[in-house]
Structures are given as C-alpha cells and as structure tokens.
Symmetry: C2
Amino acid sequence: MEIDDLASTSGEWLRGIGPQSDIVMSSRIRLARNLADFPFIRQCNDIDRANIDSTVRQRLGSNKALRDLTFIDVATLEALDRQFLVERQLISREHANSDGARAVAIDGQEQLSLMVNEEDHLRIQVMKSGLDLDGAWAQINELDDQIEQQLTYAFHEQFGYLTACPTNVGTGMRVSVLVHLPALVITNQIEKVFRSLQKINLVVRGLYGEGTQAMGDFYQVSNQITLGKSEKELIDQVGDVVPVVIDYERKARKFLIEEDQNELFDQVSRAYGMLQTARRISSEETMHLLSRVRMGINLGLIGDLEIPQVNELFIQTQPAHLQKIHQSALSTDERNIERANFLHRNLKSQDN
Amino acid sequence: MEIDDLASTSGEWLRGIGPQSDIVMSSRIRLARNLADFPFIRQCNDIDRANIDSTVRQRLGSNKALRDLTFIDVATLEALDRQFLVERQLISREHANSDGARAVAIDGQEQLSLMVNEEDHLRIQVMKSGLDLDGAWAQINELDDQIEQQLTYAFHEQFGYLTACPTNVGTGMRVSVLVHLPALVITNQIEKVFRSLQKINLVVRGLYGEGTQAMGDFYQVSNQITLGKSEKELIDQVGDVVPVVIDYERKARKFLIEEDQNELFDQVSRAYGMLQTARRISSEETMHLLSRVRMGINLGLIGDLEIPQVNELFIQTQPAHLQKIHQSALSTDERNIERANFLHRNLKSQDN
C-alpha cells in the first residue's frame, strides 16, 4: 500500500455506521506503550530511535496477526504526505512535525494505527464508526496482546504502564468520542455542556486535536486522567457521558425544528446551495456549511445526499487531501478554488 | 383583458432587447396632459373626476387607433391588484393609493399606459426595452396626437402644456432610463456618478420611483425640469448622458474582472446558488442576488439562464405578483417562503 492509494479510499470511521452515527462520527481508543529495553523518547539519540523503529517493525512482522499492517516511514515523507496522514487521523500533528526515525503502521480499513516514536515508543489506536467504545476496546485489547507477545513493555507493578508523560501512566489509555453538535452551537448551549464535562475531568477539543478551534461543530470528548483507573472505568466514564451529550444535541435539534422549521430548512438548504455553487471557498467555511448539511440530512431536510458522503467531504476538502487529489502542490488561494471545484463536482444535485 | 391575465405574461420592456439592453432595462417617456374643460385634479370634486374618467373613455373609444386600449377601473380594484399594476410600472404608487374615480388604459404589450386622474387628468406613458428614447418618442408623439384629436388639452401659447405641478409645465414630459449598475455599486463609484448627474439637473431614483431605495442596483435616470426646453432637448439631455453612465458601468465591470475574476465568479455563482436553494427569502435579498446574477449572465459567467428570464423574475418576485401567481393573499413570512419556492421552481439548473 502506498500513501497515494489512500487518497482514493476512506477510513472505516467515515462510513457513518454504528450506534448513534448521526451524531457520533467515531469512537477512538489509544494506548501509550513503551519498550522496556529503551530509554523514553525524550532521552533517545538518533541511533536509539532508529533501533526502536527497526525493532518494532521486525518483531511485529514475525507475528501472524500483525503481519498485514503496512509500515509507513514518516521521517522520509514529504510535508504534504505527513499532513495528509494527520487529516486522516492516522498520525498526530506532533508525530508529523517531530524529527528523527519514526513510523506509522496501519491496516487496510484504517481502523488500526500504530505510531512508532511519537511521545511514547508506541501509540496504538483503534478507530470505529459511531459510538462503539466496546468494539474499539475489544479490538485494541487484542492488538495490544498480540504486540505484547513480540515486545516487552515498560510496566510497573504498582503504577501500571510507564509513559513519557505522567498523565498517561497507568493504563496509558485515552478514550475519545468525536461528536457532531451543530444544534448545541446554534442554540448557544455548547459552552455550558463543555463546563459540565470539564467538571468531571473530561476534555473537549476540536476535530484536529489540541489547540485547534472546533471546526464544523465537531468535538472530541475524551478522558484526561488515566492513573488510578482501570480500562473499564475509563471507557465507562466517557461511554456514560456521551449519551447524555447526544441527548442534549437531539433536544436542541427538536427545539430548532419546533421553534421555526422553515428557518432551519432555509439555513440547511442555503448551506447546501453554497457548497454546490461557490467558486472559491476556505476550509473553515466548507466545514461550517458541511456541518449544516450533515444535520439537515439527519433531520430529513436534504434528500439526495448521504451521511458517509458528507463525512468524506469533511476530510477530502482538507488542505493536504485536496492537493493529493489534485496531484500537485497548491497555494492557499489555489486550494480555495480547487476546493470549490471539488465540491461542485461531488455535490451535483441528483434531483433534477 | 382582465388583470389576472397579466400575471402570466410580461411587458415588452422586460424582453431584454434593444440597444444596450445588458445595462439598460428600459426607456420610458411620459407626458402630463390636462383637459381644457375641467379644473385641475386638486380642484376637482367627485363628480368632476367621474366626468373626466367617462369623457376620456368615451372619446378615446371612438378613435380607431386608440380603440384597442383596455381601460382598467383603478378605483374599484383591490389593493393587491393596484399594487400589482405598480410593480408592472403601469401605474404610479400615487395613482394606486389616491381616492376617487380613476383609471388606467393599457395595450396588450404593456408598452403604452394612460393614467386618468393621476396628478394630472392624463399621464401618457410609453415604455421600451433597452435604450430606445427615439422609438419611445415616436410612439408617444403619435399617441399624443391621436388623443389630441379626441380631447382638447389645456395649452398656453407661451408656457406650453399646463400641468398641476409647475415642474411639469411646458412639454409635460419626463424622460426616464432604467439602468442596471451593479459594478458601480460594488466599486463604490455610484454616489460619484449620481452627484455628476445632479449637477446637470438629472434625477436618480430607485426602481420603484421616488422615496424607494434603489433595489437590485437599478436606477432611473430622468430629467427634472421641462419648462423652457423642447421635447428634443429633454430627450437629448438624458439620451446623451446615459451612454456615459453605461460606459462607466462597463469600465467598472472590466475592472472587477481584471482585479479578481475568480472573486467575481464566486460572488455571481453563490448568488445564483442562493436563489436556487433558499427556502425563505425577502424581496430585497432576492433583488440583490438577481442583480449579481444578471451581471453574471452579461459577463458570460452563467450559461444556463437568459436576461429576459431574470428581468421577469425581478418583477414576478415582487409582493403583489407573488400573491397573484399564488392566487391568494399571503403574509410577509408566507411571501418569503412562496418567493423561495417560486425561485426554486423557476431556476432549476438545466446543466446537470
């Protein structure tokens, strides 16, 4: 598998299936793991990093269950390809921008991703469509077991898995659910919801991780602390709260419909029209409009478009994706024009 | 001919033909005339007004050239029908809103309109598509001669035709050209153009006459003073200046294209998209967007729409027209929804 092959496919998490997939885009669990035989990344020199990279590749290659993973050498990738992997949620922005030997291993469905030499030696991730933390857990637990057959993890009897950052010590687990909350944004209730989540030690971020403003009304809800908690407790903490957030969002949508259905229909329809007819459009505006359209489909206000298609457009209209699809580097202004062309081609109304 | 028959047709002036019809919507000449045997309208009682009305109908009916004019009894019309005639430019807002016996006579092409008992006993109007003041003059001059064979005008050797308002004394003529100046608006040059026109005693108004803000970037350029000038001088005054205004508008369009063609294309295309997809839209926004689309067609940026269709939409989306087409009275909010439906039906994209 080559990087360029990915551009024409889309990850399993965009398929719009699974429980509550109208509001929950994806469920993700990642485990931070370190190898007992090497110093933490921060203490590694270039040779250590190269050794970790080659050791992981070699050992996992000899495991039948892991053999089908494709290793991509992130260190030698062009900046554009690294950004492309960030946009697909396969590597973190930090992994894209750091230095030295590093890699990512992925499966064909892009459900699994294994970063080598990120903040920890290994960052294992499983991503599922919809609200499916149990499915993600079953899959990542199995994956973790297979890896542990090949590599010796840094583990402390009392503290659990040892990690570069203290906030990850213990299970090394982060549980994240990516939710789409346009109605809570429109009704100005989103801040209130966030404050409630922060009180119970959950973190809310935009689609592309820390420091990114929430674009397209997508928010990642995830746990902040792992130490002293079991995997099940962490999954339950997020898994119990997300349905409450979903319920708030559904109530807000109901309110918008009851308050003024025509107004909502107008907003949704215009957003769809704008995406179809703009000739120059920024990534930010695109996500804003796609968000309206996505909600509109869920509310039955748009008939000729499906959720998976919209989910894909969120990713495909990102800067690196646009350039990969266009097969050449583009300036910001060129991207804005190409993005509009891309949307125009992909959203041609089918109903007339 | 019934009022309701008009709703399914459109006036000759909307056909988008004639010289400079990309920028000039229509050319209009009106003559104010009064009958020598009656007091001015302001001094008339109800019986006088009724007598004027019946005298005009009777006398014109016996003239072969005028026999085909249809008389509509404005006094007995519903408010909606009166507004409908205002929107079609067949009667003035004042004529619609005044009291007592009054009428309008029109021909099948809506080129001619003859208001009875407006500010003057007779207000004769000829309206042509494009910049065609000579054509309008030839037609109205002939019409005026025919009418004068049937009725004795109030005429003073020295002053000329006598009128209710001193500004009309002399020829009683107003020459108006309706121009579409979106690029001068976008480039903030419109005020400068207006000031130049005012210096040479021309008046600039919005589409629907005095006191109306210019909607859809349409402006009526007309003469202010008639006393002491011949018909030819009045026609030349407007006729000489309009080509200069047209030239400014063309230069502004050229500037917009050269400065940033993509930006212009984006604005035009989005305007078109908004008109196609809005589900609730005000008359003001509609005219604003139609204006962009009209310019876009002229610049070759929109392929599947013609100028006459857009010209008609300007009129058909006016409040009274919408209600006539919908065949029932509608509140403002209902109109905004019906207007969006009407635009949606009439602008279905043909190119996909």
